[in-house]
């Protein structure tokens, strides 16, 4: 969160950035600053890259949190030349970190694509992101005379960043998820093995290739090492992006970014597909292991606080209505189930005192879970259920015709 100006010398001649400011260590988006801060592109072969990623413990930063080395290793080395896709489509309205990264450190993402592509002997390199984010990337590519990476504009929809939707969009179809029985790493874009990595994951990959796993692990916790980007938003400030060491307590993150904990009623962790945590759960650490006991996940690194003057049920009802509207309208249980959840939840939030409502929300949430081609129904159900748990006493109040916050 603060930039430590001193540097420790690791491997070769260029030193890795010390402190937590890593991805943004160049300070400026131009190629000169980038090279000065990070040095030249390292050479990496497939086996060594996989090994270094394995040792570093880097996990995917797009939301699913799949180990980065594993995805790379599951690209078959069977002679078919694979495709590498950098995914910067941030459909999630609460997330801004990929946009921040592409605007402030496009060269690091480009490095990551090139290193992954070279090590796999890739045939094609692609980057998929919203129109506003493509501009700085295009500028950066031009600056370094790089022509192999093809840019694709992501539509402004919630599910456009889902991996199969990304591949579908690049192939010229709609950016909607597809049915999947095979892994993309085995059969993706035009049937080729396809590695889809989030842009932040690729930026970390570019740093690990240069400075090594030990350097990467010098911040963060043992089980989830390194730094990560988060987007913090909520009652005190609009969305802001920070680079933090993983495994810091949520309360520390909030306090160090100037949030008054007394003004916070709860926090939504992991985004719209995430989990509400009540105030007393906020001392959990922001990492896979730290959040597991409270039933949450880091997702794409999203934390949204709910002010003590806001009703969590109303906030959830509004998000559920949005999510229902963002269904790709392909799968029956999603098309029908999400609006049903949203409407029952809205009744609970906005004055209906029928005691069966919470039970009905739980029933519908269980009904849609696992029954879509992507995780949209599951994520929506998770949000609804977590709200019932985190705001349990307010649910009771609502059923008695009151609200703990309003009135």
């Amino acid at each position: 969160m603060t930039t430590d100006q001193s540097t420790v010398s690791i491997r070769d001649h260029v030193a890795g950035p010390a402190g937590t400011t890593r991805l943004f260590a160049a300070g400026s988006a131009d190629f000169g600053s980038h090279q000065a801060a990070f040095g030249p592109l390292p050479a990496m072969d497939r086996a060594r890259l996989i090994d270094e990623l394995l040792q570093s413990g880097l996990d995917g930063r797009g939301g699913a949190g799949f180990a980065a080395w594993q995805k790379l290793a599951s690209v078959p080395a069977d002679g078919r030349r694979p495709v590498v896709v950098a995914n910067g489509a941030e459909g999630e309205p609460l997330s801004q970190k990929d946009a921040a990264l592409l605007h402030n450190a496009p060269h690091l993402v480009i490095d990551g694509i090139l290193i992954a592509g070279r090590s796999l002997g890739a045939k094609e390199l692609h980057l998929f992101a919203g129109a506003e984010q493509l501009a700085p990337v295009a500028r950066a590519l031009k600056e370094r005379g790089e022509v192999r990476i093809r840019l694709h504009e992501a539509p402004d929809t919630f599910i456009s960043g889902e991996a199969t939707a990304v591949v579908s969009a690049i192939s010229g179809s709609l950016a909607v998820p597809g049915d999947r029985t095979k892994r993309l790493t085995n059969s993706g874009l035009n049937g080729r093995p396809t590695l889809v990595h989030n842009v932040e994951t690729l930026a970390h990959l570019a740093l690990i290739s240069r400075f090594g796993p030990a350097w990467f692990r010098s911040v963060g916790t043992g089980s989830s090492p390194g730094s990560r980007l988060i987007t913090l938003s909520g009652n005190t400030a609009g969305p802001r992006v920070y680079e933090i060491p993983t495994g810091v307590r949520l309360t520390e993150i909030l306090v160090s970014t100037g949030v008054d904990l007394h003004s916070v009623r709860a926090a939504l962790v992991g985004g719209y597909h995430g989990t509400w945590l009540a105030v007393d759960q906020l001392d959990a650490r922001f990492s896979k292991e730290g959040l597991a006991p409270v039933g949450a996940r880091t997702g794409a690194g999203i934390i949204m606080t709910l002010g003590s003057g806001s009703c969590g049920l109303a906030a959830t009802a509004d998000i559920l209505a949005y999510l229902a509207g963002q269904s790709a309208r392909q799968c029956g249980p999603c098309i029908n189930g999400l609006p049903a959840i949203a409407s029952v939840f809205a009744r609970l939030a906005y004055g209906d005192t029928n005691g069966k409502l919470p039970q009905e929300i739980s029933r519908l949430a269980a009904l849609v879970t696992g029954r879509g081609s992507c995780a949209h129904p599951d994520g929506t159900a998770r949000l609804a259920l977590s709200a019932l748990a985190a705001f349990a006493s307010d649910v009771d109040a609502h059923l008695r015709g009151r609200c703990e916050v309003l009135r």
Binding site: T181, C331, G332, P333, C334, G337, L367, R371, S373
Partner: protein, 71 residues
């Protein structure tokens, strides 16, 4: 002999909730509020050996070709 596990995959982008599969596999499937098939496993329904033929019929007869069996 290693045990082979047959599962039936439901492609939700194709399924139109016509209910043929539920008729053929009443032991495993029911219909949800909107007519779509519900079974344990969500999109990957485990098929016990005695129901393999019924599952094959369901996959062959599904009018929208939403079902696939794999081992």
């Amino acid at each position: 002999m290693t045990e082979r596990k047959v599962t039936m995959h439901i492609d939700w982008t194709r399924c139109d909730g016509r209910g043929l599969c539920v008729e053929l596999l009443p032991e495993l499937l029911t219909r949800d509020d909107w007519g779509y098939p519900v079974g344990r496993g969500g999109s990957e329904i485990a098929i016990p050996q005695n129901l393999e033929y019924a599952a094959q019929d369901a996959a062959a007869l599904c009018p929208t070709q939403a079902l696939r069996l794999h081992k």
